[in-house]
Amino acid sequence: MKVMERVRESTVGRSIWRAPDRATERDRAAGHWANFFLHIYPVKMRRKEMTFRYTWFLGVASVVLFGSLVVSGIYLMFFYVPSPASAYGNIQNIQTQVAFGQYMRNVHRWSAHLMVLVVAAHMARVFYRGSYKSPKEFNWVIGVILLVLTLLLSFTGYLLPWDQLAYWAVTVGASMAGFVPLLGETIKGILIGGDTVGSATLLRFYVLHVAVLPTAVVILITIHLWRWRKDAMLDTGADDE
């Protein structure tokens, strides 16, 4: 503790933290403001909004699961080539040859399933709490988009092992898109890039899964949290029993 304080108050420490004093609440608020990582949080919140009962911490849980997916996903990317000729063999290789490969794949899979579950539960919790009401309407809309993106991420990842489970689930999913009025066949074509699920589909789903969709999710989560911070003090409890 002492050492940390000395570091904070040194010339270098002052240049990093900028508000090194921790004596008064005002100091600490200044330190909070000056911190990049803390700036997604409000400085103060009502005691009630911090309890398990209020949020069940489902939002935090989704972010943590997303982080776990990014880490395990990057690990898996080192050992995977998205082509029908190699994909399945790569997965077998990950499971049998790569250090911690099987474990990382498990982490990725279960994090993904849990994330779908937790995001859905988060939405239900926000509904019952009434936290979508004015002026937070648009943050709810962003949340719905994030739910859809979560499902798409999970579904695009489902194809990558190129096993029977993957192939036919995506065949059925793409056929569903084919029933959209007027545009059905076009959408299906763009989705799978050919007559049937094949190498073009695998590549498209891979790019969506590792680049396009995660970027979209990161941007939207940032906006989601920023708006959450702005609205943090709104629930005055006037309605509580």
Partner: protein, 168 residues
Amino acid sequence: MSEEIERREFLKKGWMAGAGLIGVAGIWTTWDVLQPGESAGFGGEVRTIPEEAVPQDGVVAVPAARAYLTSIDGEVVAVSETCPHLGCRVPWCESSGQFECPCHGSIFNRKGEAREGPTPRGMSRYPVQIIDGLVIVNTGEPEEGEPMGTAETIDEPKRGPSCAEGSH
């Protein structure tokens, strides 16, 4: 003074048109790039098996054409193996003498006509030519099957137990 305004208006319209143009170009090229490519083999005329090998009371699968061949009243019919419901491959059930889709339980007769299940129509058929005794399937021009509820044109009721073990 008025000249100033005009110039400002012109510049405003100018950059809006420019941005719009770039946007349209971007969407157009993206759209174009994403169009599905041609796949080799399938999608054109596929040479399959000799006409004599096509069965009268069953079907034979011809994987290259993603189809089944069967003979109805002495005429070879090519039925697409893809379920018109959601794209699963429909296997032929020997014991019941009908196509039974594993995905959602749609059932079709030997000609691919919809019999029961959630499928909106019968299985697609491909035009067939016989050249030098060999069946040529034109997979480029599928004909959609008739909608569910159309009367079947062959009289071949279910002839035995269905292949689905767990079904009722």
